[in-house]
Amino acid sequence: MTEQIIMAGFGGQGVMSMGQLLAYAGMLEGKNVSWLPSYGPEMRGGTANCCVIISDDMVGSPIVTQATAVIALNKPSLDKFEDTVVPGGLLFINSSLVDRKSVRDDIQVYYIPANEEADRLGNSKVANSVMLGAYLARAGSSVTPESVIEALKKVLGSSKQDLIPLNEKALKRGAELINE
């Protein structure tokens, strides 16, 4: 089985670290994984996206051109990547920042008000975790939220371990939203 995911949003929304976390978790579960940032010109700002692949087989091209899932944290990302979802694939839209619906009818689309939920959890920065929680909760991901938390523990410096409970909550909340 191969998950091919694109995560995209504004710089600062944490899409890069969300992707790294997912890949890390996949690795902890013994999968072959890759994470590829789209690195832009040598200047700051703008949009950011990354490709994550989690697979039982060796990872070939790390570029995702036919995504099994797209997680779009803002509208430009949705516009750019909506088409790349394979038929039957998954699309997660951050409805807090995206005011339109998906035009695709051959895929599964989830609308998650991630920023609002994150604010409700007390920290708007965990909107990415809410989205990730939603992704993990959809049927069939080979990665568990527990592995993500495990990965988070390894990635976060010892000084930041207190952020873990909050992220745990955000992941859970994302999962709940999917299943509501």
Binding site: Y24, M27, P62, T65
Partner: protein
């Protein structure tokens, strides 16, 4: 040791340190900036020295000095910076100094762009600098292999007293994959008794030099180096063949492109097309014999080289194929990455006789 998830560039740096590299001289350039950044952080911790040179020209000459002084030393850069280093690289080759040079290739020519490319193949393999010489050029296609080849690269450099180049690209530099830093069996390496370490009279005076004003002496020097190259060809050529048994079309690709071709092979298999991959791991020495061994097989109808360039390695493939089967090329350039489906289309065209 267990696996860690690492960016290619950082993995290169860590691998170098674990291989005993303690000196890094470089100059910033995208997309390899994580290498100097990592070195700047880590080298002081292990008693090494990181120095940001004033330029790539200075950097490669610092490498010359440090290598001549007997150190394990490396530099890294990307395309325009590597061009600036050509004189220095030729000197290092001429003076037979071991070192590791990393080129995380970006689109060119000129300032070009910063997206991944493989358009520095000729420069790396044929000799971007002047004179008769060769770099040993290693082309990893996963982060794990990057780590392994960096460590191997230092050993090869020391064993043969020749500069080694790691030819990567922006994608390999920037992507993350799990890697394991394995316990290595280091090679039995000759002592560096030729290095400038201060002359106490217990060995011949060390002179690091590439000038041989008498052409006869220079010719002998070059021929001696070329004899060494024969040994390198015999001992160090590395290549991976994948799915070649029964393959109708053999695709040749290295580095990032080879990964993409693996995806193509799967796509092709689904359509019942048998595609194989010859992936040169050493670009120099080029695994010509491997091509020769497949070229006479009846099931092989044609060769296709895929590169992120306008066609460079394809010349070596074609030379190896030697006219015995058709040799085709497909490439994207300027930072564009070939799409598996487009490659598959090319394969179909070749099968259909439309090329």
């Amino acid at each position: 040791m267990s696996k860690v998830l690492m960016k290619g560039n950082e993995a290169i740096a860590e691998a170098a340190i674990q291989a005993g590299c303690r000196y890094f001289f470089g100059y910033p350039i995208t997309p390899q900036n994580e290498i100097p950044a990592y070195m700047a952080k880590r080298l002081p911790m292990v008693g090494g020295c990181f120095l940001q040179a004033e330029s790539e020209v200075a950097a490669i000459n610092m490498v010359y000095g440090a290598a001549g002084a007997g150190a394990r030393v490396m530099t890294s850069s990307s395309s325009p910076g590597i061009s600036l280093k050509q004189e220095g690289i030729s000197y290092i080759a001429g003076a037979e100094l071991p070192c590791l040079i990393v080129n995380i290739v970006r689109g060119g020519p000129g300032l070009g762009g910063i997206q991944p490319a493989q358009s520095d193949y000729f420069q790396a393999v044929k000799g971007g600098g002047h004179g008769d010489y060769h770099l040993i050029v290693l082309a990893p296609s996963t982060i794990q292999e990057m780590v392994d080849l960096v460590q191997e690269g230092f050993d090869i450099a020391d064993q043969y007293r020749n500069p080694v180049m790691i030819l990567g690209d922006g994608m390999l530099g920037q992507m993350m994959e799990p890697v394991e830093f394995k316990e290595r069996k280091p090679r039995q390496l000759p002592p560096k008794d030729w290095a400038t370490t201060g002359w106490k009279g217990d060995r011949p005076r060390a002179v690091i030099n590439s000038l041989f004003i008498d052409p006869q002496v220079l010719e002998e020097h070059v021929q001696r180096i070329y004899k060494k190259y024969e040994a390198i060809k015999a001992n160090e050529t590395k290549v991976e063949c994948y799915n070649c048994e029964d393959a109708e079309i053999i695709v040749s690709a290295y580095g990032t492109t080879a990964r993409i071709v693996r995806s193509v092979i799967e796509l092709a298999a689904k359509e019942g097309i048998k595609v194989g991959l010859i992936r040169p791991i050493t670009l120099w020495p080029f695994p010509a014999d491997t091509f020769s061994s497949w070229v006479e097989r009846d099931h092989v109808k044609a060769f296709l080289t895929v590169e992120m360039s306008m066609g460079q390695m394809v010349e070596d493939v074609t030379l190896s194929v030697g006219g015995r089967k058709p040799s085709y090329f497909y490439g994207r350039t300027g930072g564009m990455v070939p799409n598996p489906f487009d490659i598959l289309d090319e394969i179909k065209k070749i099968r259909g006789g439309n090329r």
